[in-house]
Amino acid sequence: MDFNFIKEVIPLYVEATWLTLRIGFIGIILSFITGIFCAVVRYWKIPVLNVIVRVYTEISRNTPLLIQLFFLYFALPRLGVKLSGEQCGIIGLTFLGGSYMAETFRSSLETVGRPQLESGMCVGLNKIQLVRYVVLPQALSVSVPGLVANIIFLLKETSVFSAVALADLMYVAKDLIGLYYKTEESLFLLVIAYFIILLPISLLSRFIEKRLRYGQFGNS
């Protein structure tokens, strides 16, 4: 392996990693917000919004991010809406991630279960107090493993951003292979880069899952 080459191109990889993380995290945070909103709508069964959310969830779960990005980047301009690569990335990630987060939040809301609600009602809490003191705290701790899994999933999905002309890690690797034929080195750095991004979060999720299983999981 040509270590000089590696040393030279590391800045490119760092730049690309930074781009991935930046867009990734904006997308993740927006997904969170979308997810919470959708979960609340489904939980309280708010009339019209409930249907919209369900349609959105089905579409988002059943189509690949790549196609969503292609549509945003290549088709929408023909309808007069021109988005930059970054904007497409963020919107695509949010569209995809929102439904996954919603699912995680919704199932964690449901884990709280009727007995807990009734228990809260019996000590005289009203609806808002129930949600604030009984439902949310329990739902949040249950949802953490799922949320972290979603974060990992979304960060992995960012690997298609080169489709919308973003200079992300895949783009850099492919470019270097094409221009300099340094396949080994380029792929090596590619793998390292993704390891650095994802391994810490993956280990963190294992740790959290273990701790939660031991800790909070006693029923009443």
Partner: protein, 254 residues
């Protein structure tokens, strides 16, 4: 006047059909009523209807002369006057014992935290759990959790207490500690409505036994009368289910 008045209560589910078919009951202040009956007869449903956890399809329930059945908006205020303890305790797992007890009085009844804490600690001491006030529910045994659940209900200063088979899920050793607490409350003059299968306890604690079968009150009597001389066939059958004839041993047969 009765503290709690139930007039002709009818409760039915869409799928399961009629559960309670016209139950009428008066509960006076300081009375301890034990509700007995076979499984599925509607005992738990009756308690849940009183506390508004289930809607009713007919009849009405009055507390202190006020209609409390099928109330939509402010049922949580009514529930502050009714204390309920469940078979599965259902303490809030994310809160300590003390916080579990304080949640209702402080947040719902808006009482002074220091005052409630003092009351809570006194009650915890009475049931022997003051040293566990900072523990989490998962660190307690079933019997301990149930006693905490009772204290939690008591701290709301309710007018009436409902107990729904509270010892059914406990190991035999722990059943006694909970029943002792309940007996204590009865002696204190609390108004209590108890659903249980503990017949000996029922006999000792109740002012009145109400026997429900298939959704109607079949027999109502003082405990002594009920247990020694049940008047209806169904009551007799129910009590017989708890009796076993001593088996003739192999040695005696020969």
């Amino acid at each position: 006047m009765a503290l709690l008045k139930i007039n002709n209560l009818v409760k039915s589910y869409k799928e399961a059909g009629g559960i309670l078919k016209g139950v009428s009951l008066d509960v006076h202040k300081g009375e301890v009523i034990v509700i007995l009956g076979p499984s599925g007869c509607g005992k738990s449903t009756l308690l849940r209807c009183i506390n508004g956890l289930e809607s009713i399809q007919g009849g009405e329930i009055l507390l202190d002369g006020e209609v409390i059945s099928n109330r939509k908006n402010d049922m949580h205020l009514i529930r502050q006057k009714i204390g309920m303890v469940f078979q599965s305790y259902d303490l809030f797992p994310n809160l300590t014992v003390l916080k579990n007890i304080l949640l209702g009085p402080v947040k719902a009844q808006k009482r002074d935290k220091a005052e409630v804490t003092a009351q809570a600690e006194k009650l915890l001491e009475r049931v022997g759990l003051l040293d566990r006030k900072d523990s989490y529910p998962r660190q307690l045994s079933g019997g301990q959790k149930q006693r905490v659940a009772i204290v939690r209900a008591l701290c709301m200063n309710p007018e009436i207490l409902l107990f729904d088979e509270v010892t059914a899920a406990l190991d035999p050793e722990m059943v006694r500690e909970v029943l002792d607490v309940m007996m204590d409350l009865a002696k204190e003059g609390r108004t209590m409505l108890i659903v249980t299968h503990q017949l000996e306890f029922a006999r000792a604690v109740a002012d009145r036994i109400v026997f429900i079968d298939e959704g109607v009150i079949v027999e109502e009597a003082k405990p002594e009368e009920f247990f020694t001389n049940p008047k209806t066939e169904r009551a007799k059958k129910f009590l017989d289910a708890f009796k076993f004839e001593k088996r003739v041993t192999y040695a005696e047969m020969i």
